[in-house]
């Protein structure tokens, strides 16, 4: 019972200096210790940090925009998303398999990792806190339409909702539907409509701005 009550996971560790939790100092001390002992190389740490901060959903958006304008690319993306990302000069990251799933008029996809936080961060950047949160992990599988409602998404009556729980080595990316009214937009303009949340499946892409007459 008590375990169920406290199921949000904001940082609660005691604060020490400034706004940092005790874990901050601990992490830094751990790095120093491991580097001193020759267990790890500081360059490896720096390189990994550089990679992490370079990741952004703009990369995923480029994949989606290309798929929207080029149907053959869309097929290649669905067949092997990792290869398709490399084709565009993107870095899909170390996860061995990336699978893109396509939203259609009949099907809407939503992705979760109930067991931890698996996420295609190579193409989307780090996952948002809510994606890693206990309520999302609990309800995305058992009450996905309720979750979508919280995110302000209501699907048409005849749309089948497919939830993907990424429990293993596969990372899933949702290809949202191309918005109506975007027919004359350039690929770059289209990419700007593709939000991170639409590639997780908890949002639709942004609507095109109305054309000034």
């Amino acid at each position: 019972m008590s375990d169920h009550d406290h199921d949000h996971d904001h940082p609660h560790a005691p604060l020490t200096n400034g706004d940092e939790p005790a874990a901050a100092e601990r992490a830094r001390a751990l790095e120093e210790l491991l580097v001193e002992k020759g267990v790890i190389a500081r360059e490896d740490v720096r390189e990994r940090i550089d990679w992490l901060v370079s990741r952004s959903p703009a990369d995923g958006a480029r994949l989606v925009a290309r798929a929207w304008v080029d149907r053959e690319f869309n097929e290649r993306l669905l067949a092997d998303a990792r290869v398709a990302a490399l084709e565009l000069g993107l870095d899909p990251g170390p996860s061995p398999v990336l699978v893109a799933v396509e939203n259609t008029q009949a099907v809407h996809h939503m992705v979760v990792c109930t067991l931890c936080s698996c996420y295609p961060k190579g193409l989307l950047g780090p996952p948002p806190d809510w994606y890693k949160s206990l309520p999302y992990r609990s309800r995305a599988v058992s009450d996905p339409r309720g979750v979508l409602g919280e995110f302000g998404v209501e699907l048409e009556d005849d749309v089948e909702l497919r939830v993907l729980d990424s429990t293993a080595d596969i990372r899933y990316l949702v290809i949202p539907r191309r918005p109506a009214g975007s027919e004359t937009m350039s690929e770059e303009e289209l990419a700007a409509l593709v939000t991170r949340d639409s590639m997780i499946g908890v949002a639709q892409p942004a609507a095109p701005a109305p054309v000034a007459s």
Binding site: T114, E160, A168
Partner: protein, 93 residues
């Protein structure tokens, strides 16, 4: 034993001590194979410092949500897809 797309399978309902990646909510549930991804190292052994070999086939298995949750509140044809290792799947006669 390998499974083909479209084949009905049951997720084993056995308990498991230690790290494994088959969610409790799926155990004992029947679904159908969507595809076989590839084979991957076994997280159950790799989690304890071994190399996780031999690799195990990993399947994407689809389930009707109403088959998974007794009080599912969504639409009747909503589905849930989960990656499940072959050694957690059983034939359904």
């Amino acid at each position: 034993m390998s499974y083909r797309p479209g084949q009905r399978v049951r997720v084993a309902a056995r308990p498991h001590e230690g790290h494994h990646r088959t969610p409790a909510y799926l155990k004992g549930k029947v679904g159908s194979v969507e595809r076989m991804h590839a084979s991957f190292t076994n997280p159950e052994t790799r989690a304890y410092g071994t190399d996780g070999l031999p690799e195990q086939p990993l399947y994407l298995v689809g389930f009707a949500q109403r088959d998974v949750w007794p009080d599912y509140r969504g639409h009747g044809d909503d589905r849930i897809f989960v990656d499940v290792f072959e050694h957690w799947l059983e034939r359904v006669e």
